[in-house]
Symmetry: C2
């Protein structure tokens, strides 16, 4: 059973994640593309804007007619009409003329700038004063200035946010090719675990992990399927894991009694063809017994049974694997991690990465992290936490005021 | 038309948002509670854990039997069995005895501490050496140590994250009372706007706002419904707005030709009973013509037609209003906003808040903001942006290196 019990650093295990590849792609309607990942390079079939548009409310003019204009010496211009929104103006502007235009309106033939309404004054019903000298193209966005026809506007691997949806609408895309959302099979295990709607007998506990893992898979863009609670027995584990690997893109199991169960899970995995154990045992706290394998190319993640440990490891590895399967190629956005300072001395043991539950408090632009105490690190503590503070493998804790990085929860 | 055209600061308008109230509540299954907001104080019906549990793998003992134990002078203990997971051990531990236990196992009667397996050694099949002195309750989490029966564990107004779902599972909740998700009616308007699947004629543009607003409503926990594109005419606007206000919890309109349309929209609102215009005109860029009203207590938000302006104002006001309707009482989490430094000089005009599209780059723990150039602030530019940099009303721009706040996109 190669790889077993050779404790690795989290960084070593991270490097092995590139053996997993993005899933296949599918075409979805534009309105369902939010938070999906592009599986194509998107090329614009057109210029945007398609015609020269005013960026202000005011009067379209020839810039040269305003040369030298000022508060004291305004230019006098003849009003020849108003640009109707959504229509092509049939007017061609001549020297000394101006035409009323709203933001977004089509700048007519002959005009090359727009004087903002704030810098004009009516002389009579047909004449205005323009108080500001304009340069050519001032307050005008030219055809193709935003996007040129044939230009690649969004690349494969891009996460689709509201603004990307808007851009795709702007160039007339009604369907988009995106990577499939990963289907994730979730198994709870442990003889002491009972479903949430059962009253546990003494010695038993309710299945918390089912709900936290399902929720985190959903937040990571995956589609979770729960495969039930496996007893700590080879046959029951094998049955559920095999079904999961056949039907899903990834399988996550939480091991009721931590090390013991994940050993048994490791044996089950070895009974399948083409299993490669990438890691079993991490120099990290919490989460030491973590097991990661590829079975016929599909990721299999074995998490400790303790709910907090399971969540920490899922934040670190599960989300990253789901990002890879989803085809997301962007670098990690600054949303997820923040530089913080330790609000007090926080002890740690060198030789493993430590993830400490903290509350975060902003003072004068600095984010201070205060550890949450509690022997167990139970789920109740995690609901008080705003983040997980990372203490490096080479540090023996942090001193008050020292900088470190936190993952925001 | 009270309130019209009196330009307000964003801060003044913010203060008026407290006239809106959370929606009614509903009961949902636990598995659908993620990202909803609690509408009840949740009390635990039980202790968690319900029984004393070991926090390590090792041997349950009487602490006093290890007093004085050390590497050189280990305590000798008699093994009397193993705690089965999920079962009540029938053994009562006597002086000088130890029993094998896994993490999470139930500490048996008579035992009050657990010696970690790392600090033990087998002497023979029935006897171990314990090398470390334990204090009472060491490595044991007592019944009720995480949560006491009757304790309020989560308060009304709390956003439900994966860890809250886990806690609710842990105390056996299968359904949860949460606030209703706001239904949001979305109207596009403007004579120049055509649906995305139509080829625009010259002077026309595709309806980008429909897709960006729908996406942002979804991201904010609302349920978006699109009511179509209204022409810039009183009757058409009134028809769609009236239906929206009757059927939805909130209505958002984007005005094709900015100021002009929102004036007409203002007139439509005044034709309804119990309309209170909270603001029309903001000292902000982009987004000056913004209109906010309460119609029979329901929020109505009129956004400029320019897609970038509409998005900026929705980020600032739309999301906040949806948070209020959703009953979310938490303070704004640090996720959404970051302290950054200007990567170069960024000019601005005093007297209005300026939101500049920026890319963000982290160097040595400092997040640098670089403005994105482009006359139009078009949607394509927003897809390159990581954030919106806020320049205060009282500043004439930022100097390179100066600190400011950015909203992350």
């Amino acid at each position: 059973m190669k790889g077993f019990f050779k404790v690795q650093t989290p960084a070593q295990l991270y490097q092995k994640l590139n053996c997993f590849k993005p899933l296949s792609s599918e075409e979805v309607p534009l309105e369902e593309s939010l938070h999906r990942v592009l599986a194509e390079d998107v090329t614009s079939p057109m210029n945007l804007p398609e015609f020269p548009r005013s960026t202000v409310d005011g009067f379209a003019v020839k810039a040269k007619d305003t040369y030298g204009a000022s508060e004291k010496n305004p230019a006098l211009l003849q009003i020849v009409g108003e640009i109707p929104m959504g229509k092509v103006s049939e007017i061609t502007l001549k020297d000394g003329e101006a035409i009323k235009i709203a933001t977004g309106g089509m700048v007519p033939e002959g005009a090359d700038a727009v004087e903002m309404v704030e810098y004009t004054g009516w002389v009579d019903g047909q004449t205005i004063h323009a108080f500001k000298t304009l340069s050519p193209l001032e307050n005008v966005i030219q055809a193709g200035e935003d996007i040129k026809a044939g230009e690649v506007v969004l690349r494969k691997g891009r996460l689709i946010r509201p603004q990307e949806v808007g851009l795709l609408a702007g160039i007339g895309r009604t369907t988009i090719r995106v990577f499939r959302r990963p289907k994730v099979g979730i198994i709870s295990s442990g003889d002491e675990i009972v479903p949430v709607d059962e009253k546990p007998n003494s010695g038993e506990v309710r299945d918390i992990n089912r709900y936290t893992i399902v929720s985190m898979v959903r937040e990571s863009g995956g589609i979770p399927f729960f495969f039930g609670i496996a007893k700590d027995r080879f046959d029951d584990l094998k049955d559920k894991i095999e079904t999961g690997l056949n039907e899903m893109d990834m399988v996550v199991i939480t091991g009721g009694s931590s090390v013991g169960t994940l050993d048994l899970v490791g044996e089950v995995l070895q009974s399948f063809p083409k299993t490669e154990v990438l890691g079993h045992g991490l120099s990290i706290r919490p989460g030491k017994p973590t097991l990661l394998a590829g079975v016929q190319g599909k990721p299999f993640l074995g998490l400790p049974g303790h709910p907090v440990s399971a969540m920490v490891i899922f934040y670190l590895f599960g989300k990253t694997i789901l990002n890879i399967l989803s085809g997301w190629s962007d670098e990690m956005k600054p949303q997820g991690r923040r530089k913080v300072r330790a609000g007090r001395n926080i002890p740690s043991v060198a030789g493993r990465e430590d993830y400490v539950r903290v509350t975060l408090e902003e003072k004068d632009g600095i984010l201070w992290a205060y550890p949450i105490f509690g022997k167990s690190g139970a789920i109740a503590h995690l609901t008080h936490a705003d983040g997980l503070l990372r203490i490096d493998m080479n540090e023996e804790g942090l001193e008050e005021g020292e900088e470190a990085e936190a993952i925001l929860l």
